[in-house]
Symmetry: C2
Subunit: 468 residues, 2 copies
Amino acid sequence: MTEFLEQCRAAIGAAHVLTDAADMAAHLTDWRRRFTGQAQAVLKPGTPEETAALVRLCNRFRVPLVPQGGNTGLVLGSVPDRSGAAVVVSTTRLNRIRAIDTVNNTMTVEAGCVLQTIQNAAAEAGRLFPLSLAAEGSCTIGGNLSTNAGGTGVLRYGNTRELCLGLEVVTAQGQVWSGLRGLRKDNTGYDLRDLFIGAEGTLGGVTAAVLRLFPLPKAQLTALGAMKTPDDALTLLSIAQARCGAALTGFELMSDFCLQLVGKHFPQLRLPFPEASPQYVLLELSDSESEEHANLMLESVITEALEQGVIHDAAVASSIAQSKGLWSLREHISLAQATEGKNIKHDISVPISRIGDFIRVTDGLLQQQFPGCRMVTFGHLGDGNLHYNVSPPEHQSDEAFIADQAAINQVVHDSVHRFGGSISAEHGLGTLKRDEIRQYKSDVELSLMKTIKQALDPLGLMNPGKVL
Amino acid sequence: MTEFLEQCRAAIGAAHVLTDAADMAAHLTDWRRRFTGQAQAVLKPGTPEETAALVRLCNRFRVPLVPQGGNTGLVLGSVPDRSGAAVVVSTTRLNRIRAIDTVNNTMTVEAGCVLQTIQNAAAEAGRLFPLSLAAEGSCTIGGNLSTNAGGTGVLRYGNTRELCLGLEVVTAQGQVWSGLRGLRKDNTGYDLRDLFIGAEGTLGGVTAAVLRLFPLPKAQLTALGAMKTPDDALTLLSIAQARCGAALTGFELMSDFCLQLVGKHFPQLRLPFPEASPQYVLLELSDSESEEHANLMLESVITEALEQGVIHDAAVASSIAQSKGLWSLREHISLAQATEGKNIKHDISVPISRIGDFIRVTDGLLQQQFPGCRMVTFGHLGDGNLHYNVSPPEHQSDEAFIADQAAINQVVHDSVHRFGGSISAEHGLGTLKRDEIRQYKSDVELSLMKTIKQALDPLGLMNPGKVL
């Protein structure tokens, strides 16, 4: 036991300093099991002050530290490197809901609270916390904030950034910045909150936040529309936005191939149409009034879309079970493609108006260079965010296909860049996209980012090797 | 003509380098005519590149520069000090609307575009740009962004920060950072956009932005409710939010004394009630469906509020003229209090749930120390933002009253601080609140702000003396 670890034990209690390999294992491997790092220890502070004390020790002993929430990230942002020099600082024990204020519509939570716990606490108080994503049963709000997580509610409610009014952060020097303000308006200086949000723990560590709550909708309705092209889906989006305004809370595109994969691997999940179409959109309306009213709105959208020839078929869920059934189709795409075999994922966004052209052009480029590759294209069309994933041609081995990964990424991300898009719409950079992003950001922007990193974390101890 | 100014002429053309006192006058005095500074020159670049060239010259010759939009700010943030050392860099000529994309719902505008011009261009394209505030005919979007302006649409659409997807900024070193992305989701590094937004030109100068547009509502309805207390107004807010969700786009509190002043100085504006009440709320609904539907929603809110005894009277505007009439009452409060004489203004916010207590406690403290002072309390209750203004007792001279200004500010702002609020909700710090804010921010926060300023503007040339 080194002096550093002795002092950590003194600061937070020996029981919360894990050095045993078995105890540390879950903290050292990433969610998709693609990388395993090493660490001196996993530290589990119980309060912001204990967290700050650990950061001060890291400063004194020059130990790099990796903040970690639920460790569900997809870009290797929350695991240490293989040097074994770092410690993981896990927020597991920072898991109190500190306050709920239903008049101010805010909830104050600690970083280690699991997203689903927060959703449930809000619902029990008669409010909605709208952040929702696949990992919600395991991910923590600290991680959601540090990666500015997206998910399925962004169209109406924004990214995690837009759901946060205030933060408590332990700085790289081990001081607690208490910015837990529950205010909608505050123009008294630089926006430190948004600087720490999305910084992936490289500028400081989030320990608590004030989150925004919303009224619970009275009714939620789901429908599935069938159409020919992504451009038709965009026209449907315009119709739905004009007719429903903020009541439109979900708008997910799924290509036919996505649902073929779902049908193949989950035959119990069935499309509500007799024949296949090239594209589908899952719409969700959330109504503050009544189910009847939601139904009327949805019917009016579908009627106009059918009349204009934008869609050629539609199914409206008439029960919560049917609604869940439609969402299941969407939610099983990732599982179905994993069951099918290897695939190369891209979490990209482009301006919504350019989505049709982007898909057409990029599909063409990929077919030229990798003939027969199969596109698993789906995602949050209403946000311009696609999971633009590539599966191997039918008879190619996974190994041969994965050997082309870098070349495929290059084709896709170069195209995204030409369309004015982002190569990481909702997952962050971590270590996975850290090198790649340098091709797409200007020197001015990279230099501004480095200047900020250097200023706030001059010793470079905060989650080193991530983002920059 | 100094060598510096010669070079400025060479960079942007002699016609755009103003040194004549008469030409410069409008740029040196603030909107409320409380302060007149001095400058070497007023510079009017025509492009971002010209702006950058000027900033590089300022670097070379160590000349401080004051970015200026419509110069309508209320905290002395856009005028130079009296030393005469600085130049004003006016965005007047950066006034192109570069693009409108109705499918992506974005508009790309230069910093010098007047807010009203942007609102009109959006409306002509069948879209809404929802930022709206008193100075909209003169203020520019660059100023709105640099101060993160609020206004009457924040409840539904957020502050200027939430209305911006991308920025173009000239850095303190005179480089152009082009971050004009029109993306709803982009998690590729630090949030530079939000760092420059609200920084009041002290970290760099905004030259262009990508703004979010929204569908035009089909109908807007306004109503006025009469109630006893601010707490009743909060209950009405909860009822309206539960019933109307995002359709509730305005919620403005006005005390009886505010409307007495309006009635006294603008007798043509009349309250639609036979008898006065202690408090009033102006509600606005924006409906994506129809006027009929908006009417039904509004009626349901008012019926519930009357049944619960939350309000005792209500008037619903049945025409656009009547709606304008109700908004006129709200909009004439500032003019009426100015006509009445001097008053001491506070642009404050507290958590919405604490507004009732804040008003009660702070009114009491002021009456104790300044007996007879009259409260002109109104504002954006739905955002927790009050214009909590103090008028002198009836027979006190303006001079005697203004002598107490610092003491009155101290009482109000100390109380705001105890209630977890902000002493500048929507106007910024400028030079006016720069010293005062140091009492209310922690050393950690002030130190983080200074670190960022020092890192991005090491020569301290960007709008010196403002914010920090």
